[in-house]
């Protein structure tokens, strides 16, 4: 009889705790020195869809969940706070919130990165200089995806907010700032900071100086007083106050995709990873140079360890991949759980001619078309829900293919294998399809939770838990590898059809 949670084969402490404040859930994972998972706790939060194209989160609910999962993971592992040497933070990027620094209360729901309400604002900003008006400074095109225009929307649309902001009562943050501010004491001395990777997603930070760009702040009408201080990704920002980790240093912050890059130990120039969660994000390390993209990718900060030189990355962002599977589950009711998409898809041999382009939030890389909306093309009476399930999985693989093509053009290197991670990598059919469509092997590392692992690594480096990145690299192990098994003709033929379907999504939303 064993009710007791035996940990007989587990290593001994000390440990690092990582908090991943994600789009669909918040989780806390405790790692030991070998990078092994000691405890996990996770909690989903509500997705609020007030209008088509709008997506919000309740930031107060998120903070409550973060506290709950931290306590949960610590209790599960039977740890005390003295066993935990540091806390690392990683987060959904660009999601924008503002709160009152005197009460700690959010002034509005957080505007999630997928939210498209700032379309019109972005078009207005682009009237002078076009979509790439600030690309040279920020590495980003003007798109509703990024945080800056969301701040402007809040200032314009929450009654009295601009005045309160100008009085100095209001703070802006992406979720890293919100979590760190609350963790370190909130209204009682919480520190208001963000890291370079999160700041690089606002359209407000100059990639070369790593400081807020006054020219853009002025053009967007954003008072500098609301902005957090920009810090490196790995340094001690402060100590946790209260909760089960009171007194433990908060020692890293990285946007989730950069954290995954770090967790996959892509520390050398040319190393890349692709993460399959709500959306998919392929990042390639470009060392200390911000590389400008001419093929629809974006330039972003990969990470910065303490006062070392920043490491940059080229990124291909796809808004909807896992979210399409969730849509099949929640909105269409065709499956009961996300993994069941594989069961359904495996009941047929192919997509039956159907192609599904999930441009639910417009198209991100490499197209950047906010006027696009989702399309299922190629429908006939022959097509069943199982064919659609296959088309759903193929959509993730084709979108990755488009990014890889752009990456090869921009960087001049053809990737020889693709390192993957994230929840969708448990889908074997998807991983095989990915290898088939890319024509290169796909490799999954032994820790699928690379996002948390990356945040833990950065925090551990900051407090000397790990000595250097070489030590971390030794922890990387291959868990699986899928090799391509598709003829060149089939691949080319189906890719052509996919690209045709993509064209059909564009221009659906009228200009006004």
């Amino acid at each position: 009889m064993t009710d007791k949670q035996s940990n007989s084969s587990r290593g001994q402490g000390p440990y690092i705790a990582a908090i991943d404040q994600g789009t669909t859930s918040s989780r806390c994972i405790v790692f030991d020195k070998d990078g092994r998972i000691v405890a996990v706790d996770q909690k989903e939060h509500e997705q609020i869809f007030p209008k088509p194209g709008w997506v919000e989160h309740d930031a107060a609910e998120i903070w409550t969940n973060v506290q709950a999962v931290v306590d949960g993971a610590i209790a599960q592992a039977g740890l005390s706070k003295s066993d935990v040497k540091a806390i690392g933070i990683t987060n959904q990027r660009e999601t924008t919130m503002m709160w009152d620094k005197n009460t700690g209360a959010p002034v509005h729901n957080a505007l999630v990165w997928q939210d498209t309400r700032t379309d019109v604002l972005c078009r207005e900003f682009g009237r002078k200089g076009g979509q790439d008006r600030w690309r040279r400074e920020t590495g980003l095109p003007l798109a509703s995806y990024f945080a800056g225009p969301k701040i402007r929307w809040l200032l314009d649309n929450v009654e009295g907010l601009r005045e309160r902001a100008e009085r100095g009562d209001i703070l802006f943050g992406t979720m890293d700032s919100w979590v760190i501010w609350n963790l370190t004491g909130g209204v009682n001395g919480g520190v208001h900071v963000t890291d370079v990777t999160n700041a690089s997603r606002t359209l407000l930070m100059n990639l070369h100086t790593l400081a807020w760009e006054p020219k853009i702040l002025e053009a967007m009408g954003i008072p500098e007083s609301v902005l957090p201080e920009i810090r490196s990704s790995a340094e001690v920002y402060g100590q946790a106050v209260g909760g089960s980790l009171a007194g433990v240093p908060v020692a890293s912050a990285l946007g989730d995709q950069q954290a995954a890059l770090f967790g996959q130990t892509c520390f050398d120039e040319g190393e890349a990873k692709s993460t399959y969660g709500t959306g998919t994000f392929l990042l390639m390390n470009t060392a200390n140079k911000p590389i400008n993209s001419y093929n629809g990718l974006i330039t972003t900060v990969g990470y910065r360890i303490g006062d070392q030189a920043p490491v940059y990355a080229l990124e291909g962002s796809i808004a909807i991949t896992g979210a399409l599977v969730q849509w099949m589950r929640d909105q269409m009711g065709l499956i009961q759980s996300a993994p069941e998409i594989e069961t359904l898809a495996l009941t047929v041999e192919d997509n039956g001619g159907a192609y599904f382009v999930p441009a639910f939030s417009g198209l991100f890389a490499p197209h950047w078309r906010s006027d696009a909306r989702g399309v299922i093309a190629g429908l006939t009476r022959y097509v069943t829900k199982a064919h659609i399930a296959r088309a759903v999985l193929e959509a993730t693989a084709w979108q990755t293919r488009e990014i890889c093509d752009a990456m090869a053009k921009d960087s001049g290197v053809e990737p020889t294998t693709l390192k993957v991670d994230g929840g969708m990598t448990s889908n074997n059919l998807l991983m095989q399809t990915l290898a088939d469509f890319l024509g290169t092997p796909v490799v999954r590392p032994m820790v699928a939770e690379t996002t948390c692992l990356g945040a833990a690594y950065a925090a551990g480096l900051a407090v000397g838990f790990w000595s250097d990145t070489d030590e971390l690299r030794a922890n990387w192990k291959r868990a699986a590898e899928w090799t391509p098994d598709m003829s060149e003709e089939d691949r080319a033929d189906q890719y052509r059809k996919w690209l045709k379907a993509v064209e059909r999504t564009k221009g659906w939303i009228d200009e006004d």
Binding site: S6, A338, N428, A448
Partner: protein, 259 residues
């Protein structure tokens, strides 16, 4: 109702009776509730038991709905759900044991591999998802047969080919072996399927206590056993059972299970 078969009707009545709130009932209660002679009820129960639709608790003699019925109904756990839940723990098992890890489910008289984690060295390996392993010689097969009466029946009814000199094929020997597995909570395959290869496996239970799958590690026999003919390394057994328990916990099972 013309043309209906009385014994099938009665079997259905028994299933309905046992289906009321996951009930467990003794033979006498079942017979008297349905107005059947005890011998008749017993005959039907025995047949249902062979088909896996009903299980009898060894200690109390009471009957309850069986695994096969749960599998047929919508409470059946999707194998891809199972893989998703097992992912973190099987990765960890591969890492801590240094060996390759498989997750298998009963399927058409064998074990279907639904998940495979490579051995954490740099050697060339291929994903074995979709492969089948035999019930009688593989560690996962034995772990499943020891805890799932339907799989057990299949194993005892099937051909049991000899793959190596160590393959156990005799009915009595297999029955004894399954008894040991049931008692200790894990199974091994010591060069019974392939010369030179050994495995250790333990069952994963869902929240109703059904053995829905098994996790196992496989490696060179000299790494799995303390010596070529020695005991299986206890640390390896502990790691496999930890992993099986963790997955069981994730499925919401395991509270009242010996595992």
């Amino acid at each position: 109702m013309s043309g209906s078969i009385q014994s099938v009707e009665r079997a259905a009545a028994i299933l309905r009776l046992l289906g009321g709130g996951e009930r467990r009932m003794g033979l006498t209660d079942i017979a008297s509730t349905l107005g059947l002679a005890k011998a008749t009820a017993h005959g039907i129960l025995r047949t249902l038991q062979q088909e896996g639709f009903v299980e009898q608790d060894a200690a109390t003699g009471r009957y309850q709905l069986g695994a096969e019925l749960l599998r047929l109904g919508n409470s059946y756990l999707d194998i891809h759900d199972l893989r998703a839940r097992a992912l973190v723990w099987t990765d960890d098992l591969a890492r801590s044991s240094g060996e390759s890890v498989h997750l298998g489910v009963p399927h058409q008289g064998g074990v279907l591999v639904v998940h495979h984690v490579f051995r954490p060295d740099d050697s060339r390996q291929v994903v074995e998802v979709g492969a089948m392993q035999p019930l009688h010689s593989s560690a996962m097969g034995k772990a499943l047969a020891a805890f799932d009466p339907v799989v057990r029946t299949q194993l005892l009814a099937a051909d049991r080919p000899r793959f190596t000199a160590r393959t156990v094929t005799g009915r009595r020997d297999v029955e004894d072996l399954l008894e040991v597995v049931r008692e200790q909570g894990w199974a091994s395959d010591l060069e019974e399927s392939w010369e030179g290869l050994a495995s250790v496996a333990s069952p994963v239970h869902d929240r109703r206590g059904v053995a829905v799958g098994a996790v196992g590690v496989t490696g060179a026999v000299e790494r799995v056993r303390e010596s070529r003919d020695g005991a299986v390394r206890p640390a390896l057994v502990a790691a496999v059972r930890d992993c099986a328990r963790a997955v069981t916990r994730d499925l919401g099972g395991g509270r009242f299970r010996i595992n």
